[in-house]
């Protein structure tokens, strides 16, 4: 039977679980995470009011509720998310049957395992540091529970401080083994965490469909979409358009890609040689299969495909961070000779809908005749004169273009691009929508550019006789700062946050630099880089057998180093053989019904035991008297241990007769 857990140590278990929950909040379905938080509070409340909720009557309903909520929130208890959520729920339910030191140890072990589960959902630097702290907290719990077992409640605070030291030390001691295994463990060609992504999960990032109002989820998402390092000169902000999916079809509400016009060859591209730049892109996992090259891509990485409309796609979705080198020209002319069918596709409109917009386009057309430039200007003038740029536009009715152009007159890039393209098509000018990113911010400490999800953008291209596809960004007519300075906060002061400028931005850049190193050094360490590294130290072309051998050898060295690190300078546990023998003597007597109180002196205990067990009273009195003498008398300091050893033997040999 393990020692019961006092409230102080139970509070430590609660704290560990709270820490654990904090590391999983980012992926857990909100209602489920809230339920786990509630379980935590409930357990804390029960502990505070010293209510024991160990009965099945309490635990069974909680179990069913947890499971029900799991199925409701995560869909199923199977799969990456569901399975992890189930495990988390069980760990939190364990709180209601945590009564002994052994239960606390199980919780600590489960917390370590559940921390590892956390890496299925993210391997960023912050998360790694966080889970390291959770691991230290688990070690603290293990230490406090094990070392001070049975101490009065007040003493665990003392153990907490020592536990922190031990926890940090154990974590540091684990590093050599970790590094050895990290470098030598055979890598799979695909990422180790290549668990199937749940299709149900809502995705951020640019999609290949566009409906006004859809991008708004991205404005608040300041996480990097990709990072770019330019080899030479950097194009001006107004030309930094990162080209994503090109949308051709409009069904009245939504723009989408059309597979019909994705020929894999660019028919006709002319560019100015002095505008060619070479750059390296470090892409964050987007779970989509396209890159965002600088407009317009000349050279793309191996395995990617350049469609005739300039979109660069990959065969498989980008689920891990990926790095690639591109070459682009930012002054170019595309398709002066039209590609077969493209003009027709770029003029298609639904049969009906948005009558006022069609009428307006028809008016322009009759007023300006075939002068496309004049029509474009009319539209841009309209936007410039009457429209407002806002991230929080009013909702639109089913005739989105009409409603936007004639009623609400406020919106952001998607709204302008969508209605502009519609007007152009209605006026007989071929037009298409390009989505992607615009701008980016420079990280001076790292010398690279960051393009964040909040830099998402949509613009239009129109095809003009003799000039090909020409980029027209209607947003620039309304909010030129958005384009010229390449950042959202420049266009909208209310979108600026403390980290947009000044020291906040500086620190943010520094952190981004560190996490980029983390990505490159740790997360992207794949089979190829492993082979390269091993070649550098002279281990060429190791088969998996040799790699396994090296792993065992270096892992063993790392393990020994870790053991040495964790034991170094530690005072060996006081193992007084006499005291151990006396405790066993006490256990024997306890089995006869005379347990020693913790605070009972040996003579007092011996006398009490002798009274209860008169048959062996002489032996008990004699042994306790000699124990007291050896432990507390002058002979306790006697370097000659033979007396103590003999007494210890006799104490161990003692058997109570009843």
């Amino acid at each position: 039977m393990s020692a019961p857990l006092d409230r102080g140590r139970y509070a430590l278990v609660l704290a560990l679980d709270a820490l654990l929950l904090g590391g999983h909040l980012h992926w857990m379905p909100t209602p489920y995470a809230a339920w786990l938080g509630f379980l935590l509070l409930l357990a804390a409340w029960l502990s505070r009011h010293q209510v024991r909720a160990s009965g099945a009557l309490v635990r069974l309903p909680l179990l069913f509720l947890t499971f029900g909520l799991l199925v409701y929130a995560a869909g199923s208890p199977i799969g990456r998310e569901g399975g992890s959520a189930l495990l988390g729920g069980l760990i939190f339910l364990k709180l209601f049957e945590t009564a002994t030191a052994r239960d606390a140890r199980i919780t600590a072990a489960a917390a370590l395992f559940f921390s590892m589960i956390g890496f299925l959902f993210g391997q960023g630097l912050l998360l790694t540091v966080y889970f390291c702290m959770v691991a230290i907290a688990a070690f603290v719990l293990l230490h406090v529970v094990s070392v001070g077992e049975g101490d009065p409640a007040a003493a665990w605070r003392d153990g907490l401080r020592r536990g922190l030291r031990v926890g940090a030390r154990v974590t540091v001691a684990a590093l050599p083994l970790t590094i050895a295994v990290f470098i030598l463990f055979p890598r799979l060609s695909s990422p180790l965490w290549g668990a199937p992504w749940d299709a149900t999960q809502g995705k951020t990032g640019i999609s290949d469909r566009m409906r006004p109002g859809q991008l708004s989820a991205l404005w608040n998402d300041d996480s990097p979409a990709f990072r770019v390092t330019f080899a030479g000169a950097v194009p001006p902000p107004a030309s930094r358009y990162w080209r994503g999916p090109v949308l051709w079809s409009f069904d009245g509400g939504e723009w989408s890609r059309s597979d019909l016009y994705r020929g894999s060859r660019v028919a006709d591209l002319r560019y100015q040689p002095d505008s060619v730049v070479e750059y390296e892109v470090l892409m964050e996992p987007s779970e989509r299969n396209w890159w965002f090259p600088l407009d317009f891509a000349l050279q793309i990485p191996e395995g990617a495909r350049l469609a005739s409309d300039g979109q660069v796609t990959t065969f498989r979705p980008i689920i891990g961070p990926r790095k690639a080198t591109f070459r682009s020209a930012w002054r170019y002319q595309l398709d002066i000779r039209p590609v077969m069918g493209q003009r027709w596709a770029a003029m298609r409109l639904p049969e009906a809908g948005n009558p006022r917009s069609r009428q307006l386009a028809a008016e322009w057309r009759s007023a300006h005749g075939g002068d496309a430039d004049a029509i474009i200007n009319a539209a841009l003038q309209l936007f410039h004169r009457d429209f407002a740029y806002t991230l929080d536009p009013p909702p639109l009715s089913s005739d989105t273009v009409d409603d936007f152009l004639f009623n609400t007159k406020a919106g952001y890039c998607e709204y302008f691009a969508s209605s502009f393209a519609f007007l152009m098509r209605a006026a007989g000018i071929p037009a298409r929508i390009v989505t992607g990113y615009q701008g980016g911010s420079y990280n001076a400490s790292g010398g690279y550019w960051i393009v964040r999800n909040s830099d998402a953008h949509a613009w239009t291209e129109v095809w003009l006789e003799g000039r090909g596809w020409v980029r027209v960004d209607p947003t620039a007519a309304v909010a030129p700062e958005r384009i010229n300075r390449g950042s959202l906060s420049a266009a909208l002061p209310e979108a600026a946050t403390w980290y947009s400028e000044g020291w906040g931005a500086e620190w943010r850049n520094r952190f981004d630099l560190i996490s980029r190193y983390w990505r490159q050094a740790v997360i992207e360490f794949d089979a190829v880089r492993q082979r390269n590294l091993l070649q550098q130290v002279g281990l060429e072309d190791l088969g998996w057998r040799a790699l396994g051998g090296a792993l065992v050898v270096f892992g063993g060295i790392g393990l020994l180093l870790g053991v040495w690190l964790s034991l170094r300078g530690m005072v060996p546990a006081q193992r007084d053989a006499l005291l151990v023998a006396y405790r066993r003597f006490g256990d024997r007597l306890a089995r006869c019904g005379v347990a020693r109180a913790e605070a009972e002196g040996p003579i007092a205990y011996g006398e009490r035991a002798a009274q209860s067990l008169p048959e062996c009273a002489p032996a008990i009195l004699e042994l306790t008297r000699r124990f007291a003498e050896q432990r507390y008398g002058e002979s306790a300091n006697d370097p000659d241990r033979s007396h103590r050893q003999r007494l210890a033997r006799e104490l161990r040999a003692f058997r109570a007769r009843r």
Binding site: A599, G601, E634, A636
Partner: protein, 317 residues
């Protein structure tokens, strides 16, 4: 927890005489064996004793009987609100025959001084006594006069009679090695007392059982009772527990730890042992520690109960 005397080697004359002295006090003060043991331990450890109790339970008798049995010169000072420091320490008076000032020693110049109802005197007078206790000498008219050795003070305090008293401050309480209370005797002891003849008469029949040389020898031997590392560990755990206890604002000081060890040595000597057991520490802990603890304002327990709780909570091994 009381520790009964284990055995006394017959040839140890000093131990025999000490036992006889304690026995003699027990013949006068009935039914208070444990407290008398503690009182002797306190004096043998060279500490001063504070007895806190209601009137009429035998405080004065105890002090007088101990003084007589130990063969010490004895003085009793009744503290009142108009008592002046010079009434205790003594005063220099001009002698017309010699034409010089002559110091008339006060009642404090005795080996065992009973300071009765010490909290009824003004703080000024109290501190005169307490200074003498701490320094073992009296300074008057710029001249230091050593007090007779051994010099021991037994002070009594009346907890009930609060009107017109000046309670000793916490810092002054520290000068007393132990604080005990006698309490009412049990039924048997009370009957014995009522049946016996007048206590004053009993006291006159007492004779010294020890002489000064023996007493000094005992104190020397008490100071050399062994304390093992395991015992020091235990005392340290006790001290730490008082400092960590939620209901105690100020725990025991290292000096209190020394006092605890000294008292435990004396109890152990009285028990006929040459080393201190945890039981000895436990026997004196409440008497030594309780008046030194400062309970937190929200403490629900009295000081003695707090001390007992600490002893019960700290493990012995």
């Amino acid at each position: 927890m009381s520790v009964e005397p284990v055995r006394v080697e017959r040839h140890d004359a000093t131990q025999v005489a000490l036992r006889a002295a304690i026995e003699q006090v027990n013949q006068v003060v009935f039914g208070k064996r444990a407290q008398i043991n503690l009182a002797f331990a306190c004096l043998l450890a060279g500490g001063h004793l504070l007895i806190e109790d209601v009137p009429g339970v035998g405080k004065t008798t105890l002090a007088h009987a101990m003084a007589t049995s130990l063969g010490l010169s004895y003085q009793r000072i009744q503290f009142t609100s108009d008592l002046l420091p010079s009434d205790i320490l003594g005063v220099s008076i001009f002698d017309r025959d010699t034409g010089q000032f002559r110091f008339h020693a006060g009642p404090i110049f005795a080996q065992l001084v009973l300071a009765d109802e010490i909290n009824r005197a003004t703080p000024k007078t109290q501190s005169a006594l307490l200074e003498a206790m701490a320094e073992q000498q009296v300074t008057a008219d710029g001249e230091s006069r050593p007090l007779p050795q051994p010099f021991l003070v037994v002070a009594t305090q009346n907890p009930v009679d609060l009107a017109g008293t000046f309670p000793l401050p916490d810092s002054q309480l520290d000068r007393f090695l132990m604080r005990i209370s006698l309490g009412y005797p049990d039924a048997e002891g009370e009957r014995q007392m009522l049946a016996a003849c007048d206590r004053r008469e009993l006291l006159t029949q007492l004779g010294p059982r020890l002489d000064s040389a023996q007493l000094l020898e005992i104190r020397h031997r008490v100071a050399h009772v062994a304390t093992s590392a395991a015992l020091i560990d235990y005392v340290q755990r006790l001290l730490a527990a008082t400092r960590l206890h939620a209901q105690i604002r100020i725990g025991l000081s290292p000096r209190a730890g020394l006092a605890l060890l000294a008292a435990a040595r004396a109890v152990s000597f009285l028990g006929g042992r040459s080393h201190v057991l945890p039981e000895d520490v436990q026997a004196v802990f409440a008497a030594v520690a309780a008046h030194r603890l400062v309970p937190a304002s929200e403490a629900t327990l009295a000081r003695t109960a707090l001390a007992d709780e600490v002893v019960r909570a700290v493990r012995v091994d």
